[in-house]
């Protein structure tokens, strides 16, 4: 039972001052084992805050990040799953599922986490699952102003993953979940 927090595109301080208060009150240290962040934090203070939630932090470089040392892509193994991380601005067209599938095959991972579009998406194709946690602060994106703050918490338990989607809609936190399993070769819902 491993809890992995996936979030990104905070754009603090340029486009948003901070995470929504309701999100912040839920994110307390001690519950989460890993944090994966798609990028665009953008400053060190946000990095430190995330580090205080959980010491195991993985970040990839977004185009506005002020720390240039993050890598473009990252892969890690948690339990039985291989996760891939990439900001997504490198994949053109932005948010295009076929192109993301190509990236996923390239990285050879079961779950690919990307951002940049600031819209939550969870999509499945033959090669695996693509998850976009959206923007945790609700910052406007290059494409649209209409963004709901959202992030994702994955509960990895053996060969099964439950993805909890937290969205702030009209000032209220709404939680949904998505369930999928992995067999030896493929992923199915």
């Amino acid at each position: 039972m491993v809890l992995v927090l996936a979030l990104g595109d905070l754009h603090i301080p340029h486009r948003a001052p901070d995470l929504p208060a309701k999100f912040k009150s839920m994110l307390v240290p001690g519950k989460i084992q890993h944090i994966i962040c798609t990028g665009n934090l953008c400053i060190k203070e946000v990095h430190d805050y995330l580090k205080s939630l959980c010491p195991d932090l993985h970040i990839t470089r977004g185009e506005y990040d002020e720390d240039t040392r993050y890598s473009e892509t990252k892969t890690l193994t948690i339990g039985q799953f291989k996760l891939g991380l990439c900001h997504g601005h490198q994949v053109v067209p932005w948010g295009d599922l076929d192109s993301l599938a190509m990236l996923q095959r390239q990285l050879d991972v079961d779950i690919l986490v990307t951002g940049h579009t600031h819209q939550f998406k969870a999509y499945k194709h033959e090669g695996g699952v693509v998850i976009n946690p959206g923007s945790a602060t609700g910052a406007y994106s290059s494409i649209t102003y209409d963004v709901n703050p959202s992030f994702v918490l994955m509960d990895i338990d053996g060969l099964r993953v439950v993805v909890y989607v937290y969205e702030l809609i009209d000032g209220e936190v709404k939680v949904d979940k998505i369930d999928f399993k992995k067999t030896a070769t493929t992923i199915h819902a």
Binding site: M1, L3, M26, L27, G30, K31, K121, A122, Y123, K124, H125, E126, V129, L153, D155, D157, R160, V162, Y164, V165, Y166, V175, D176, K177, I178, D179, F180, H188, A189
Partner: protein
């Protein structure tokens, strides 16, 4: 010189109390064969006028051990005693309805080490886990062991697994969901705030995180239990101890888990797990759980923080010990409490809450527990008497010492002859309650 008020009973001033433990009786921690004294005389009245020497058979047994196997009579004497006692136990246990009074009397003499397999059954009977009617044993054992399995199911799963089982039981009724090859994954509603970051009271996740602190504490203590004994380094045994303590803490929210419960649990589990009967040994965990609950029931109030200062908590227990000492040995009591100000909470806290498991070596402790469990007065009162006896046994050294020396002595209680100790404790019988 006569003091005002009650005189110190003569038997207390007898030189036997100050004799150092006999040299040829080394406190061998593993498998020492202590020949118990002959059946005790009927319980004496609290105040005696004549000095009473320890039972003569004890001396014979000591001499027998001294000379080793060379001397026929001494060696044979000790071995014969053991065989005799073992036969007594076996006879008592083989009856269709076990006579508890007889069993208790025998238990106070100590279960002989030669007869493995006797002690687990004796302890289970003494703690009321097994009924006295032998015919009911299979039924009772079955029932209790199934109950324990149910507890494990209920309390040991983490929230992920619990939720998965709930869902699987629901899904099994629906037909197989169409496995899509590509497309957006369907989103399902989350009911009852059952998500990991929930702060709802009824949320499984929230409860899980709140209990995680206790679980960590249990984990740490289990790993530290008796590191010198290979039995407790075995992963499977540690896991068993862990499970028992977790289930106990969940079923007893008033005291949860208190550091030290692992020490009280250890001898019970050791004895039951080393039962030569394979089916008993396999279910040792379940048996230990219920016996642990039973054993702790007399001492529950000592562990409850809120009751610390009340009339039933640990402080009052300690003051009872003090009163007991005062009644039997006023001179020593005065020296301890008034002159040197060595209050019971400095030394007896550990004696009482851990039931003497940390004061003596493991094997010796198991012998003491034979008497503790077997005594008809019940473990709490018997423990009081044994603690008082421990103080009386070293009275010469205590009277000669100051605060520091006394604290040192009592916190590292010297190895002594246990039969001696239990004999003294027995003489204080009948005096705790009043």
């Amino acid at each position: 010189m006569r003091k005002k008020g009650r005189a110190v009973p003569e038997w207390l001033n007898s030189p036997i109390w100050s004799a150092p433990p006999p040299a040829p009786a080394p406190p061998d921690p593993y498998g020492a064969d202590l020949a118990p004294p002959l059946p005790l005389k009927p319980p004496p009245t609290p105040v005696l006028d004549t000095p009473v020497p320890p039972p003569p058979s004890y001396e014979q047994a000591v001499r027998g051990r001294e000379r080793g196997d060379g001397e026929e009579e001494g060696g044979a004497g000790a071995a014969a005693l053991r065989a005799h006692l073992l036969a007594d136990f076996k006879a008592a246990l083989s009856k269709k309805v076990v006579n508890m009074g007889e069993l208790r009397r025998l238990a106070c003499l100590g279960v002989p080490d030669g007869g493995a397999g006797v002690r687990p059954v004796v302890w289970k009977l003494l703690l009321g886990y097994l009924p006295t009617d032998r015919g009911l044993w299979p039924y009772e054992l079955e029932k209790k062991r199934n109950q324990y399995s149910a507890y494990k199911e209920e309390f040991l799963l983490n929230p992920s697994e619990k939720l998965r089982r709930i869902e699987e039981s629901k899904l099994s009724r629906k037909k197989e969901i169409n496995i899509e090859r590509t497309g957006l994954l369907p989103r399902l509603k989350v009911t009852n705030e059952e998500h990991p970051l929930s702060s709802g009271k009824s949320s499984l996740w929230n409860q899980y995180f709140q209990e995680s602190e206790i679980l960590e504490q249990i984990d740490r203590d289990v790993k530290r239990t008796h590191p010198d004994l290979p039995f407790f380094s075995a992963k499977s045994n540690q896991e068993s101890l862990r499970r028992i303590l977790i289930i106990f803490s969940k079923l007893n929210p008033s005291i949860r888990y208190v550091q030290g419960m692992n020490e009280v649990l250890a001898p019970l589990f050791y004895v039951f797990k080393n039962d030569p009967d394979p089916s008993s040994s396999a279910s040792a965990e379940a048996d230990t759980y219920f016996c642990f609950v039973e054993l702790l029931s007399g001492f529950r109030d000592n562990y409850c923080k809120h009751l610390d200062n009340s009339s039933v908590g640990i402080r009052s227990t300690l003051s009872k010990l003090s009163q007991l000492l005062k009644r039997h040995d006023e001179e020593l009591w005065r020296h301890m409490e008034v002159t040197t100000k060595v209050y019971p909470q400095y030394y007896a806290f550990r004696w009482i809450t851990l039931l003497l498991t940390m004061e003596f070596s493991f094997n010796v402790c198991i012998h003491i527990w034979d008497a503790l469990l077997g005594d008809p007065e019940g473990p709490p009162d018997t423990l009081m008497r044994v603690c008082c006896a421990m103080l009386i046994l070293v009275r010469k050294r205590l009277l000669a010492g100051d605060f520091t020396a006394n604290i040192q002595l009592l916190q590292h209680y010297p190895a002594t002859n246990i039969d001696h100790l239990l004999h003294i404790a027995n003489r204080l019988r009948g005096t705790v309650a009043s």
